[in-house]
């Protein structure tokens, strides 16, 4: 038996979910064949005339009317224009908008943050109780740093430390400041000179304070020269030109390129190589890692940089947090692994004629996908 269903052009309106109010989402269904344009009209309760809102994109069939006032009631009407007919659809009940207190589409993010937070706090507590039981693998670039400073000292050459070209707000820059403190202490110990040019003034002032403290900790506060920590420029290639000039004139024996870098990464690393310096790089800029790997002696790869900054202090609390993010990695691996098994299972079951698993799997995917919007 064949039912010929002619579905009629309809429209629905509801408060836009997960927003701060002031918006109603309109959907149109069963758009007639050959429609060229769908116009949307709105009637405010108490008024007598419909006003035009705009065009609903045909391929989407959805429009957010963001010109409404919260709490006011509206009636919507849509017209679909085909070359020969005009179809009209209207909602039956008044719609209104309101703000929400919780963005439901971000639930999974909240779950992850909560989980992450708890895990890190737990591990920090554990680490405090039993600092010996914490294993963190060695990072060769970090081990090489002291040696590099030492070699520069032997050659009577200064050390150059470039903290990248991001602002203090970038996690890589913050990690770089911690590494700078370590390098600074060694430099002070060996009575060498450290040159530290900057792209951002705030990073510069932070570095000045950090180095000053590092020199004090090493017992040589007066060896610190504030003029060696200076601002260069906030222009990407101007900065590269300036640092290259410094490399060629001052001929540092060890170069540290630690922080977030962009295209200038290879300009700096190759110039550094040409003057024969030991180079230890580290960056959270994944796009620049290949260039550092090719041109430098040691590289802290992405996350290693953050681990290094925690590792340096040897403080149990910081080490605990490394353990915490390792566990988060395991959770992700398990999640992806379960997804793989479940996905395969669901696919097989689905073929066998049991769509329930498939639907559960789709739901999970949807849940994750929504958060990524």
């Amino acid at each position: 038996m064949i039912f010929l269903l002619i579905l009629s052009f309809t429209i629905s309106a509801k408060d836009t979910p997960d927003d701060a109010g002031g918006s109603i989402t309109i959907n149109v269904y069963n758009i007639p064949e050959g429609t060229e344009q769908i116009e949307l009209y709105r009637l405010t309760k108490g008024d007598t005339l419909f006003e035009e809102v705009g065009l609903i994109p045909i391929f989407k069939g959805e429009l957010d009317d963001a010109t409404v006032t919260d709490g006011v009631l509206y009636l919507y009407k849509a017209t679909a224009l085909t070359p020969d007919t005009v179809y009209v659809a209207e909602i039956k009940e008044f719609a209104s908008s309101s703000p929400e207190w919780f963005n439901k589409s971000r639930t999974s993010v909240l779950l992850f943050i909560a989980l992450f937070w708890v895990v890190i706090l737990v591990y920090i507590q554990l680490a405090k109780k039993n600092p010996e039981g914490l294993f963190i693998r060695k990072l060769p670039p970090l081990e090489a740093m002291d040696e590099a400073v030492g070699r520069a000292t032997e050659m009577g050459k200064p050390v150059l430390y470039v903290p990248g070209i991001e602002y203090i707000t970038d996690a890589g820059t913050l990690a770089s400041i911690t590494i700078l403190a370590k390098v600074g202490r060694k430099v002070a110990e060996y009575e060498t000179r450290i040159i530290n040019p900057h792209f951002d003034p705030i990073v510069m002032t932070t570095a000045q304070e950090t180095l000053k403290n590092a020199f004090s900790e090493a017992g040589r506060p007066d060896a610190f020269n504030k003029d060696d920590v200076f601002y260069l420029t906030s222009e990407q290639f101007g900065f590269a030109a300036g640092v290259d000039g410094i490399m060629l004139r001052e001929r540092p024996g060890a170069i540290f390129l630690q922080g977030y870098f962009y295209a200038e990464s290879l300009i700096l690393a190759e110039t550094g190589y040409s003057i024969g310096a030991i180079q230890i790089a580290g960056t959270n800029a994944t796009t620049q890692l290949p260039f550092f790997v090719a041109a430098c002696d040691y590289v802290l790869l992405g996350e290693e940089m953050f681990a290094a900054s925690a590792y340096i202090s040897k403080e149990p609390r910081l080490l605990g947090s490394i353990k915490g993010s390792d566990l988060a990695k395991s959770v992700l691996l398990v999640l992806i692994g379960v997804g793989v098994i479940f996905g395969t299972f669901a696919a097989i079951k689905n073929v066998a004629g049991n769509p329930v698993y498939m639907e559960i799997f789709d739901r999970i995917l949807e849940f994750l996908a929504r958060t990524a919007e």
Partner: protein
């Protein structure tokens, strides 16, 4: 007072901003855009520190007649040149970035070639770096070398002439073989950054406040 209060500020600010990510309702929903406006203003003040630092350094060079001090005069020449054309343009028109203004012209004729030339140095450097680094020292280095060479040659017509399959293999390396590792690195960096941010908000990581 000097360290406790900033740490408290860090915690409260960070926490409120995280909350605002989940709460669209007023006043939280607007908070992110609002803070960005605030930060732009704070940022403006920090630029002053930078300019001050550099200008002071160069004045010192000139005063003390340090070696190469006259390069500092060149620095000031460039500085005042840009400042002057900026001021002239500001008087002339409300939009100084509009093509046709003195500022735009001065920028385009001098700063752009300088930037472009510095950027273009990379053509030489990718050559010298790949010559030196891409040696088959061990398995990892060999794979790095092979992947680089195939992708490199697969992207120019010469690769197709050499072997029509080369561009296909190059694309496959780029679209499939490297994706997993890149994703892994990205996830790692993001996790590290999140952990770092949490440490900051909790006041465990405080080197920057030293």
């Amino acid at each position: 007072m000097k360290k406790r209060v900033p740490l408290l500020i860090t915690f409260i600010t960070g926490f409120i901003i995280i909350v605002s990510f989940f709460v669209p309702h007023r006043p939280f929903g607007q908070l992110e855009t609002e803070t960005l406006i605030w930060y732009a203003i704070i940022f403006a003040f920090t630029l002053v520190i930078g300019v001050d630092s550099l200008v002071r350094l160069h004045i010192k060079h000139i005063r003390k007649r340090k070696k190469g001090w006259w390069y500092s005069i060149v620095f000031f020449a460039g500085f005042f040149y840009c400042l002057t054309i900026g001021i002239i343009s500001l008087i002339q028109t409300p939009n100084i970035f509009q093509p046709g203004t003195v500022f735009f012209y001065g920028y385009e004729t001098i700063l752009i070639p300088l930037q472009a030339t510095m950027f273009a140095l990379l053509a030489f450097f990718v050559a010298s770096a790949s010559y030196r680094a891409f040696r088959a020292r061990n398995i990892e280095a060999t794979l790095l070398l092979i992947a680089a060479v195939i992708v490199m040659i697969g992207r120019v017509p010469a690769g197709y002439k050499l072997w029509p399959k080369l561009p296909v293999i190059a694309n496959w390396i780029f679209d499939v073989l490297q994706i997993g590792a890149m994703r892994g690195i990205l996830i790692g960096v993001a996790l590290g950054a999140v952990a770092m941010s949490l440490r900051l908000i909790l006041g465990i990581e405080r080197t920057y406040l030293s």
